[in-house]
């Protein structure tokens, strides 16, 4: 089981598995006895089938559109966003849209090429759990989540950009 970093930097054990997209012609293998994250479009396609299961979540790839889920987001206990490469910044916009536009309230998880120095950006954009790439030192996560005590901008973590806080 991979370790999972939470919002405050503490580490907890995690039992969700990421089910990859099935190859052409094969069907999705959803485990019966295991909490699983499946490709978002396949969850949508089998929406009826998965409704009511609290052990099925979805994952997005960085080129996919969160608009597809829109009003269904809160039916999901976990949404994961995949960073295929840490330098691919689309996941930050996807996260903000899920939180701020579609009002997603449950767990938002960063997966893929997740490194230490991007954790605070992810946190500010609404991610609250992080699966750090295995070769990185998970004990440094708490520090890296909190390099900055504040930000200039409003983002998912705060409604108050610095210019509004200065005025109050």
């Amino acid at each position: 089981m991979p370790d999972l970093i939470t919002l405050d930097g503490s580490i907890r054990n995690d039992n969700w598995v990421v089910v990859s997209r099935p190859a052409e012609g094969e069907s999705l293998a959803v485990p019966d006895d295991q909490a699983a994250l499946i490709p978002a479009d396949l969850w949508l396609a089998g929406h009826e089938h998965y409704a009511g299961r609290d052990d099925i979540g979805v994952w997005f790839d960085s080129h996919e559109e969160p608009e597809a889920l829109a009003d269904k987001v809160n039916e999901l206990p976990v949404i994961a966003v995949n960073f295929p490469k840490f330098s691919d910044g689309r996941g930050y916009s996807i996260a903000r849209l899920l939180r701020e536009r579609f009002g997603y309230r449950n767990e938002l998880r960063a997966i893929g090429d997740v490194l230490l120095d991007q954790l605070q950006f992810m946190k500010r954009c609404g991610f609250d759990t992080y699966v750090l790439r295995a070769d990185k030192d998970i004990n440094k996560a708490a520090k890296c989540l909190n390099f900055f005590s504040q930000g200039y901008q409003a983002a998912t973590d705060t409604d108050e950009p610095l210019f509004r806080r200065r005025a109050s």
Binding site: S93, R96, E100, D117, F121, Y152, A155, P161, F163, R164
Partner: protein, 550 residues
Amino acid sequence: MYVYDEHDRQLAAERVAQFRDQTERALAGELEEDEFLPLRLQNGLYVQRLAPMLRIAVPYGMMRSAQLRRLARITRDYDKGYAHFTTRQNVQLNWPELEDVPDILAELAEVEMHANQTSGNCIRNTTTDQFSGVQSDELVDPRPYCEIIRQWSTFHPEFAFLPRKFKIAVNASENTDRAAIQVHDIGLQIVRNDAGELGFRVHVGGGLGRTPMVAPVIRDFLPELDLLTYLEAVLRVYNRYGRRDNKFKARIKILVKALTPQGFAEKVEAEWAHIKDSPTKLTPEAIQRIQAYFTEPDYAALDNATDLLAEQRFEHRAFDQWLTHNVDTHKKPGYAIVSLTMKKTGTPPGDVTDRQLEQIADLADEYSFGEIRVTHQQNVVLADVRQDRLFELWQAITPMGFATANLNTLTDVICCPGGDYCALANAKSIPVAEAIQRRFDDMDYLYDLGSIDLNISGCMNACGHHHVGNIGVLGVDKKGEEFYQISLGGSSHHDASIGKILGPSFAREDMPNVVSKIIDVYVEKRTEEETFLDTYRRVGIDPFKERVYA
């Protein structure tokens, strides 16, 4: 100018601590090279041909004398005693050691400076007209908006890993554009609408590099308070849909072209509709608070020193020329705007020694309320000089090498560091600038030629802005040898245009002759009032081609 409060100071200190930690982890092997790369780039640090290069931000070109003195000290303590003013109003050090960079950043933070986002695929330093606040034809001072954009874009969590770099420029003058806004990713022209309200005309998708483009207008009028929410919408559309599969097609200009300006504008408007009333929407108080840092200095009530200057001009021909070329009209009677030229022949354009930085600091304190501006033409401006002290100032700067009266002439060359320093360059640029400066050393002839922008880049990345030079020079590599391609007719001003390539490229030693021939055609064809660009636009490229390739 802007002064940090406790929030800015805290963020600056935290940034230094963060980069120190990142550098330690990189040196300890905990960060792969490609993982450290964007982190160091977003702190201004390149690894160059000969040594690392550190690009220090000068937000919209403004610096105080204390900051100049600190830069001078840093170049002495950590570098080889000189620095380079860049074509985006920043400053570069060419020889710092990687392990010293956190200490350099700490020294900069002490004087409210930084190297944040001066490189990397993020929002870069916002630039503007070096005459902001002191010229008479601007609607309002654009610098407060630049500072507002600086704060919004600094460590923006959503836009730190864009497809490619992103540059914003702001202009407020109705008649001139010294900020070249139409060749930026976003160009903001401050305008008033028919109701008299202040706002921005928004250009998106300009740029130089491999695919030069003049930015189309995607919104005619954006109300002032909507500035940041609209920028956020543009950046979000770009972050989501800009190409990431090919570095050379990743700039926003390619996306704007692919979607068409109208299609792109529709996408932005749709995104903006969701966030226009979000907490990011500016408030009048927030703007006023920043504007309060850009109030007028304590000007004396003066009359124009017309008679005195006329007398001094009459007695000193060199002063007369300097006054004509390097001094501009100030909005306040009795004051003048002075450009110190960093283009003395034999010195790489934009290079200054530690001693010169201190001299500029002293001049700023003595003559211009302790502030200077760096220009994208790589010169330095003293914006508030009393007219009755111009002669004294001219005498002081002549031996320093800052009074070369060639501002905006052919020898006021914009030039990147080129193959002498830069790892990306295909060819050297500085020796070409110097050879042309040596050929055109007759000042009277230069004045007769009038205003000509000669811009030189050592490679397609176009740091020397060759596409928008009236005469542009691009260094190219042909089977390991350096050649130079010429383009004509570019402009970075309100009438922005991309230059047209003249034809096959030339060897370096031919360049002064080639430029001479181009100039000869202009001199023969021009009418009395025409600038080089006017003549070129009237007669076209053929007469130039015929002469040069005859």
